[in-house]
Symmetry: C3
Subunit: 337 residues, 3 copies
């Protein structure tokens, strides 16, 4: 596909070339995200940031990315305030809202809702998460993080060895990451989860078909040795029928510095889609990992900004105009040291 003028609904749309193009634009946007310079390339453009399900982090990340390109943001932050409650169809909502914006990011609790919405929209729509279905910008920023972290040790996504840890049954981020990894060569995957929270069978089959090498285990120590990346996830409490069921699994797979030191190769990178559950009975990633330079979870969140900037730039076709509109930064960046 070409990004220009198209919806971004699923990572299935992308081949390796698309992904490489996106990552290369993201690389060029790094100095703008880190405030070495600013751009106003989207001055006058409006993002419709339509969140029909709460998600502070993703909402702010998309909005900030659009602001960093010079555009304005109009927002919906809750389904209660919408006309859907008055019997309006998603198609009508899409027709109307697309008259107010140049591009729309939409999150919605129902699977496939964003696709339906996009079919009636007159402007490009980016899926910001539709139920348990897709969340393509998360998968792309995860892969971008893997590529960036590995490159420091001269490794590539081809030949990647990665451990996925935690709730692999309900974790949407993990599912999308698996799909995107299956586009690469010689990927070795260690799936570490309680038996009841294993990766869905159809996804395992799909990855086998793509020649991903898969090992499944319930043993954290064994699973995280001999990998380049450990990708930990939260128990998706909200997807369980009741909290008690979820509580059974919280805290079962908890990584801390001593387990890391005892089992991992040097420079094994730790990732997490966040939020991580830091309550003592869950504690997926212990706070003693804070000092570990391979804890990449906040660099990963930061990468969301350049990836989303790159998505906007490519869909709106301004990726070649960013440099020429750049300006210096007036203010002091960051904290006093």
């Amino acid at each position: 596909m070409s990004f220009r003028g198209n919806h971004i609904l699923s990572i299935d749309q992308f081949n390796r070339n698309d992904i490489e193009q996106l990552f290369s634009v993201a690389d060029k946007l790094e100095p703008f995200a880190s405030k070495e310079k600013i751009t106003r390339v989207l001055e006058g453009a409006i993002l419709g940031n339509m969140f029909f399900e709460p998600s502070t982090r993703t909402r702010i990340s998309f909005g900030a990315s659009f602001n960093l390109l010079g555009g304005s943001v109009r927002e919906i932050t809750e389904v209660g305030s919408s006309s859907l409650a008055k019997g309006e169809s998603l198609a009508d909502t899409a027709q109307v809202l697309s008259g107010y914006s140049d591009i729309i990011v939409m999150r919605h609790p129902e699977n496939d809702s964003v696709k339906k919405f996009s079919e009636a929209s007159r402007v490009p729509v980016i899926n910001g998460g539709d139920g348990s279905n897709e969340h393509p910008s998360q998968a792309l920023l995860d892969l971008y993080t893997i590529r960036k972290e590995l490159s420091q040790n001269d490794k590539t996504i081809d030949n990647l060895r990665i451990a996925l840890v935690g709730d692999l049954k309900y974790g949407r981020a993990v599912h999308s990451l698996c799909k995107i990894l299956s586009k690469y060569k010689d990927v070795k995957l260690n799936l570490i989860s309680p038996d009841e929270l294993k990766l869905p069978e159809d996804l395992i089959r799909q990855m086998n078909d793509s020649r991903v090498s898969i090992n499944q285990t319930e043993n954290l120590e064994k699973g995280i040795s001999e990998v380049d990346i450990i990708y930990v996830t939260r128990v998706q409490e909200e997807r369980f029928k009741n909290k008690k069921d979820a509580n059974k699994y919280r805290g079962l797979l908890s990584l801390n510095q001593s387990i890391y030191t005892a089992n991992c190769e040097p420079n094994t990178v730790i990732m997490h889609p966040l939020p991580r559950d830091s309550r003592s009975d869950a504690n997926e990633l212990d706070s003693d990992l804070y000092e570990n330079p391979n804890l990449a979870i906040f660099r990963q969140a930061d990468n969301g900004v350049v990836i989303r900037m790159a998505m906007f730039a490519l869909v709106l076709g301004v990726e070649e105009k960013i440099e020429e509109t750049s300006k210096p930064v007036n203010w002091k960046v960051g904290l006093n040291s």
Copy 2:
């Protein structure tokens, strides 16, 4: 009246000259709304978009219109977060909020609240809907739509033949439209509603006084023949004492393509203030009308943007400065074809 530096509280403020002036500025703003170019004429100005009652569509439309002129938007989206709950008077709220903005749009559930607010405000206030009372930007965008749609068949608002369909008792949009139409010559009005949801008597009297010709009927087929415009409305469920009462009337007056073909003159335009209720038991406008080029409901919503831009431009007195500050658009507009 002149718009410059004044509140916009009611359509009663306007005479035909005012309306013509507004529409002529709106015409000039079309290329900015359709992204042929951008303007930054309100760079540095702040809109206080104060919604003390939820209304996604109107809120986003006003906000986007202000962004399109180059201004910034600060928002209130719910009464719960306001100081009114702590016993503050509307006058105090107005004094304080008007110190934070250059112009205010206010929606509030109580009739006449916006007027009270405006009396203490130090900046112009635009009524974004006060209870069942007024919603002037809706009436203006409706009339602008009628004018624009008719002009394609060389017709004018003078001599207009229009059918109003549905809940004419509670529909605020319909009431305001009636008032504004009474400023024009030789308007013929077909009122189509269940007997219990008829247009209020005082409004009918007022229109008779202005020499509007009025027919009342419960028969959809009869009412929509020999008109230029069919204006359909939703049953205003939220204004009924209980839902059951409202349900009696839902679905009674439902327009679809075959009724349209059998009864309407060619090019009869279909309008609706939206949201329309598309649940099967209501279905005011059937989805088979989607292909009908005379279905103007989304063009009508789009017109809200230029009308609101024109209101801002005139009240803030920048209508002559827009062209000189215009710039080209950097990005690809709309979807790939």
Copy 3:
């Protein structure tokens, strides 16, 4: 301290020189707040306006101030939409959100939460109110108002005579004002409150140590004679165990024009942190004071904008660059007279 690149968490950080520097930048920003000209000095910068507790007035004031400097604003308006609910630590939230913004304003219902947050943030954090603890921008705008109002009568903060009226026990604004006043010389303080709502003992001790002269009384008339400033506060209903307890004190200390005329020196200035409770059983400041030119409560709210602009400008180190980036205002400011 220097403001540049630092958090603003407490008024205890500041000495008189800091305060003078802030006020002198605020003075320079007045023409921008009153729209004699505009500045775009923070073009490209993003404020994370993070309100984990509702506060319309403070939220909009900070947001508008940042917009007036040319920056963009991304917002959180309710704790419900945050990841804290999923067990995320404040430190993680800070790490992530500081990757989306150049500066953060945070309000939170828990004491010391903003400090904890700031320790993990990678950008400067301004305390927008943490529980009953601190709200430094309110104290600074109060003091700025006192200085400005007094200067018209050639008085200074040194030698100030001020009456604090109302709920002195729970009023956070009053506590902070006391602390900041204790940095000045020869301040005379009349504390007027019901016995049960007296200023906390430790604060009185602290002020005595700073040689502030203190009188306590329950008698409004006596307390407001021979002062330069009367600072009235609302009964902080929400801090009482039940509403009935609060109701006992509402309306006890109510100032109106005739009490003012009978007891006050000419030009005694009336202040209030707002919102004031205008319900008839409270009525802290009667509406007949509206015409009194010494009622400074709305000028006080307005001063919040320049003070917050000055805080942003100093922390981000652009205070010297504002003038050089200034532009003329295109639009008509204020209402038609």
